[in-house]
Symmetry: D5
Subunit: 149 residues, 10 copies
Amino acid sequence: MEISGITEALLKAKEEKGLSFSDLGGLVGRSEVWTAALVYGQAQATADEAAKIVSKLGLKRDRDEIVPFLTAFPNKGLGPVVPTDPLIYRIYEIMQVYGYPLKAVIHEKFGDGIMSAVDFTMEVEREADPKGDRVKVTMSGKYLPYKIW
Amino acid sequence: MEISGITEALLKAKEEKGLSFSDLGGLVGRSEVWTAALVYGQAQATADEAAKIVSKLGLKRDRDEIVPFLTAFPNKGLGPVVPTDPLIYRIYEIMQVYGYPLKAVIHEKFGDGIMSAVDFTMEVEREADPKGDRVKVTMSGKYLPYKIW
Amino acid sequence: MEISGITEALLKAKEEKGLSFSDLGGLVGRSEVWTAALVYGQAQATADEAAKIVSKLGLKRDRDEIVPFLTAFPNKGLGPVVPTDPLIYRIYEIMQVYGYPLKAVIHEKFGDGIMSAVDFTMEVEREADPKGDRVKVTMSGKYLPYKIW
Amino acid sequence: MEISGITEALLKAKEEKGLSFSDLGGLVGRSEVWTAALVYGQAQATADEAAKIVSKLGLKRDRDEIVPFLTAFPNKGLGPVVPTDPLIYRIYEIMQVYGYPLKAVIHEKFGDGIMSAVDFTMEVEREADPKGDRVKVTMSGKYLPYKIW
Amino acid sequence: MEISGITEALLKAKEEKGLSFSDLGGLVGRSEVWTAALVYGQAQATADEAAKIVSKLGLKRDRDEIVPFLTAFPNKGLGPVVPTDPLIYRIYEIMQVYGYPLKAVIHEKFGDGIMSAVDFTMEVEREADPKGDRVKVTMSGKYLPYKIW
Amino acid sequence: MEISGITEALLKAKEEKGLSFSDLGGLVGRSEVWTAALVYGQAQATADEAAKIVSKLGLKRDRDEIVPFLTAFPNKGLGPVVPTDPLIYRIYEIMQVYGYPLKAVIHEKFGDGIMSAVDFTMEVEREADPKGDRVKVTMSGKYLPYKIW
Amino acid sequence: MEISGITEALLKAKEEKGLSFSDLGGLVGRSEVWTAALVYGQAQATADEAAKIVSKLGLKRDRDEIVPFLTAFPNKGLGPVVPTDPLIYRIYEIMQVYGYPLKAVIHEKFGDGIMSAVDFTMEVEREADPKGDRVKVTMSGKYLPYKIW
Amino acid sequence: MEISGITEALLKAKEEKGLSFSDLGGLVGRSEVWTAALVYGQAQATADEAAKIVSKLGLKRDRDEIVPFLTAFPNKGLGPVVPTDPLIYRIYEIMQVYGYPLKAVIHEKFGDGIMSAVDFTMEVEREADPKGDRVKVTMSGKYLPYKIW
Amino acid sequence: MEISGITEALLKAKEEKGLSFSDLGGLVGRSEVWTAALVYGQAQATADEAAKIVSKLGLKRDRDEIVPFLTAFPNKGLGPVVPTDPLIYRIYEIMQVYGYPLKAVIHEKFGDGIMSAVDFTMEVEREADPKGDRVKVTMSGKYLPYKIW
Amino acid sequence: MEISGITEALLKAKEEKGLSFSDLGGLVGRSEVWTAALVYGQAQATADEAAKIVSKLGLKRDRDEIVPFLTAFPNKGLGPVVPTDPLIYRIYEIMQVYGYPLKAVIHEKFGDGIMSAVDFTMEVEREADPKGDRVKVTMSGKYLPYKIW
C-alpha cells in the first residue's frame, strides 16, 4: 500500500481524539472530503492551516515532518491501476459501466468538452431511506470546452 | 472501440430525429443517464420499452436486431483498463485522487461497507456559474454494510 | 508478498497455541472464514472482540499495535492482478471458466443484478468421498437487482 | 467480447423457446451450470448429447456448425484479465478479499494442497430471505494434496 | 492500428490533391494541428466546416459517411498504452524524463494546479539551424488551480 | 514513489532558502527546466556545477552523497507506465489525443523522421490572459531523418 | 527479487558446505527438485525433516527462523508475469510455442482434462551427447478428467 | 483466439478421418508433438512433407493455401501473456512454482547456462497408475553454457 | 498478428520469384535489412523505388494498393509488448540482460547520450564457425549527446 | 531501480580509481561488455577473477559480500517490461521496428532457427564520422536451428 506513514499517523491521532473530518475541516474552513484529501496527501494546505491541524491533533512534536507533508505540492494518485478495495473499485465500476452514458449526456448538454477534475468539488451525504440508507455523492466540476484554434 | 454497431445506429437516429436522452427516457418513464446506459448496452429494457424506443427513433425495420439488444442481460463494461478519452478519464482520475478520501469519509459516516454501484442512480445537471458553467453529477448508491458471520 | 507483519505474528501465535480459526472465531461468535479474513486484515472487529483474540493468542504485549490493526477499516484486497499461488489461482480459474455460465444462470433465476460480495458469507467444509475427500465451499450473497431510474 | 457467435445463437434459441438451462440439462442428465458452461464453449458434450440439444432448440439446420462446437475440446477461459462485468467481477473480488483466508482455512483442514477446479462441480440456488433473497453458490472440488517425491 | 478507415480515406485524398493540413485548415480558419486532429477523429467540426473539407478533397460521394465522422463527439485517444511509433514515443519519453521537472517548474510558477490539455493549443514550426533543422512545438494550456472547498 | 531521497533533500533545501529553479540554474548558466531535471536525477552536471549548487543550498555536509548523484550518468524515467499525477498525466493525454496529428504534421513538414527528445530543450512561461493565465511550454528537438542504407 | 532472505541463507550454507540438492534430499528421502523447491519456499517439510536439513547445513543458531519457513504452508509462485531470467523464460517459451500442441496431444490421448501440477513430480538429468550434452526434464502429473455433473 | 483458420481446418479434417497426430507424424517420420506443433503453425515442414499431410487429410483442394502455411517460417507463440486455458496454465504454474528450483538444479549440474527451447524435443506418454493414470512429459534441450568473452 | 496483408503478399511473391531481400534491395541501391523493413511497413520508399519493386515482384495489378503502402509515412512498431516469437524475443532478452552493461560502456566511451535508433543502420552476416555458424549483427547509430540548456 | 547496492559500490570504486571497463576486463582477460555485465550481476566470474577485481578496486574489506555476488549464478534481467531509460529503450525500439525485418533476413540466410543470446558476444566501438561520431554495436550469436524430431 502506498499510503504515507504520515497519513497513518494523522488518521491514528484523529481516531484517538475522536475527531471527524468535518471537525478538522471546520478548523480551516474546508469541507470534509477536501480535508480527507489533505490527510491522504492529495491536497495542499497553507502553513497556517497545517499548523492548526497539527495542533488540534496533538502532534506538535512531529510538526517538522507533518507540516511540510501538508504544505507540499502533492504527487497525486495512490492506488494500483485497477483498485482492489471494494469501496474504491465501485467508482472504477461506475466509470466502466456508466462512463460512455455519462459522456453522451454531458456532450448532449454542453458540447465537446469535459467536466474538470481539478476545478472540482465533492460532497458525501447520508440519505435516509426506509429500504436502507443511501450514500449520496455530489460532484461539481467546471465545464471546459475543447479549444478550437 | 468496443461500442456496438447497434449503439451507433441508435445514436445516429437520435441525432437525426433531434431527440435528447431525456426525450427518449420520457417515453418509458426513465432518467436520461439510465436511457443513455440502455443505448450503450449497459442496462436492460422490457420488450415494451424497447419497442417504444425503436418506434420513436424510426428504426422499426431493424427491430429484430435492436429489440433483443435492448432487452438482453448486458455484459457490462466497455473501455480499456485505463480509459484514454479525456472526459471518461476524469472519472478515473477522481478515483485515483479522491478514492481514499472518499473511502475514509464514507467509513466515518457509515462504518465498514460500500456504496452500491448496482442499487445506484446517477443524475447530470448544468450549474450556471458566472465564472463558467459547471457539470453537476449526483450519485446515489445504497449503503451495504459488510456482513459479519 | 503484501501480507502484513501483524498477520504473520497472529498466524505464528495461533500455530504455537495449536488453535484453529474455528477456536478463535468461537471466542467472538464468528465463523472460521470471517475470522481468517480478520487475521488477514480483510475484516473489522470491535475493540472488545480484538481484545479477546489478542488475549487468547498470548499477544497482550503487542496489543497497541494489533488491536488497531484488527479494528481499523480495512484496505481490502491483497494479491497481484493474477494470483500465482495455485490454491488461490483456482478461484481465478473458476471465474475464467465458469464466470459467464454462472452469470447466465443467475440472470435466468433472478433477472439483471448481481450476487453481493459484501452482504456475503462463505463456509468451507470437508466432504468425505471414497475417491478422495472434497472441499466444499458455500457462498451466499444477497441478490441485488440493478436499479432502474 | 470473445463470446462465440454459436453461443449467441444457442442463447437466442433458448430464449425464444422459453427453455431454462435446467430444461436443457435435463435432456442429457446434467446440471444447469454445466449445461450453461457447455453453451459458453467451456465444456464438452458427446455427439449424442449435442444432437439432443440442437434438436430441442430447433437448430438442426445449423447442426454441422453447432455439433462440432459442442463436442470439441474447449479452449477454456473467456474474459479479459480483470473482468469488467459487475456480476463476474464479484467472483474476482471474492478471490481478492477472501483468497488468503480461504487458503488458510483449507490448509488448516486439509494440509498443503488445493481444491481442484477440474474435478469440480458448482450449483446455484435461490435462498428466500425476508430481507431480500440471496444467491447461494455451492462449489465442490476434489482435495488434491501436493505430491512429495 | 485503430486509425479509422475514414481517416485513411481523408489522408489519401489530401495526398492525391497535394494539399497540406495548413491548406485544409485555412478553408475553415483553423490551425494545422487542429485540422490534423480533426482528420484523425480527435476534434469536432461544424457541419459547414465538414462540408467544405469534404468538397475540397473531392470526396462528396462519401459525404454521408465522412460528415458525421467529422461532426461527431469524438471518442478520443488512439494508440496502445505505450506507443511503439518512434515519433509518438518521444512525447512519451519527454513525459517520463521531464514530467517531474515540468511539474516542479509549473508548481513553482503557478501553485498547485495543472496545464489544461482541453483549453489547449499546439503549434509546430521548423527552426532553421546550421547543425540541422529543429522541430519546435509550442503548447499553450490554461492554468487551472486546484479548487479548495 | 520512486523519487530519490536526495531529490527530496534538494527540494526541501531549495524551499527553505526560498530559491527558484531559475536562481539555481543561473548559478551554472542553465535554464530552469534543465535545472529541475538535474534535481530529479534526469540530467548530469559537472563536478564544478554540482559543487556550486550544493554550496548555494547549504548542503555541504552531505556533498559526498549529493555530488555523485548530480554527476552520475542518470538512469532516466521515473513514473509508472501511465502516470497518476494529474499534471503529468496531461502530457500523456496530449500524446494520446494529439500524437497522430503531431506525427502527421511533422511528417508533412519534414519527411520520415522524428523530433529528438535528447538533442532537446524545453521552456515554461506564464502567458497572461484575461480569461485566466496560461502555461506555455516550448519544446525544441533536432529533426532526425530516418537513415536509408 | 522476491527470493526470501532465508532462501539466500540456505543456498549460501549449502554452497559453503559443498552439498548438492541431492545430498540434502537424501537426508529426508526426497528428490533433488523437491528439495530445491523446499529451499525456495515452494514446498512444505515436516518439523523433523526441517530439523535435519538445518542441522546438516550448520544453521542451528537460526533454527527458530528457518524451521517455520520450511514447515509453513507456502504462498507459492515467485517471479513476475513474464520472467526475465533466460533459463526460466525458456519454460515460458515452451508454453508459448508448444502449449497448444501439448494440449492437443494430451486431449487426443486422454480426453478433456489436464495434467495436474499439484499431484506432480519433476526430475532433471544430464544426457550425454557428442554434439553437446542435453538437459532432460521429466514431468509426471496425474491426469484429471473434467468432472461432468 | 489467435488460432489460424487453417489450423482449424486441419484439425477438423484430422478428426473426420479419425487420424491421430502419431498417424500424421508417421507419414513424414516425425513425432506426434512436432506434428501437432506443425498443425498449430509453430513448426516448418518441407514442401514434400506438407504435400503428404495435405493429401492424407483429403484437403488437396485447399493445398494452395495450406502448403504455404505449413512451409513458411512460423511467427511463433500464440496465447495471451498468462494463458487462461487450464491445461496450458498448468505449464505456466509449473514455471511459477518450480522455475527457480529447476534453475538451481540445472546450474548445480551444468553451470551457468540454459536448456535450449530451440534445439529441443518433447514427448508425451500415458503412465498407467492404479491411483489414476498419469501424463508423462519428457523434454530434452541442449545445454547452452553462457559464452564468456 | 498485426502484419499487413500487403506485407504477406509481398513476401509470397518474393518467395515464388525466388528473390532474396538482397536482390530486391539491389534494385533500388539499398541494404537487405532496410529492404526487409520496407516490406514490413517500417520504412518509406520513393514512388520510383516502389514501382521498381512492384514490377520485379510481378505485382503490377495490385500497384494501386502496394505503392501507397510502400511510400507512406509508416506507423512503426508491430509486435506486442513482450514478443513471443523466439527469434525476436532474443533481442528483447539481450536488452534485459545486457541493457545496463551496454549503457554503462556507451556512457564511459561517449558521455551522457544515446545511440540513435533513427540515424541507424543494421547489417546481418553469416560467420562461419567450426562449432556451428554464427549470426553477426552490426548496428551503427549516431551518438546523440544530451543537450544542456 | 533494481540495481544491486553491490553494483553501485563497484561502479563508485571504478569511478574513483579512474578505471574503465576495459581496464577491469584486461585483468581477467575479458571484454569490456562482459565485464560490465559482471558488475551489473548478469554474468558469473570464477573466485580467482572476482578476487582480482575486488583487489584492483580497493574493496578488499567488503570481499565477503562482493565475491559471492560476482561468482553466484545470476538471476538475469533487470529493468521493467518496457524500459524508460532512453538509451536502453532504443534497443527495445530497434526490436519493435526492425524485429520482423531481422527475423526475415536471418530466416532467409539460415532457415528456421534463432540467433542465440546465450552463446553470444557483444562489442561496442566508436566510429569517427564527420557528421557526428557513431556508436557501433556488434553482436555475434550462434545460429541454433529448430530441432525436428
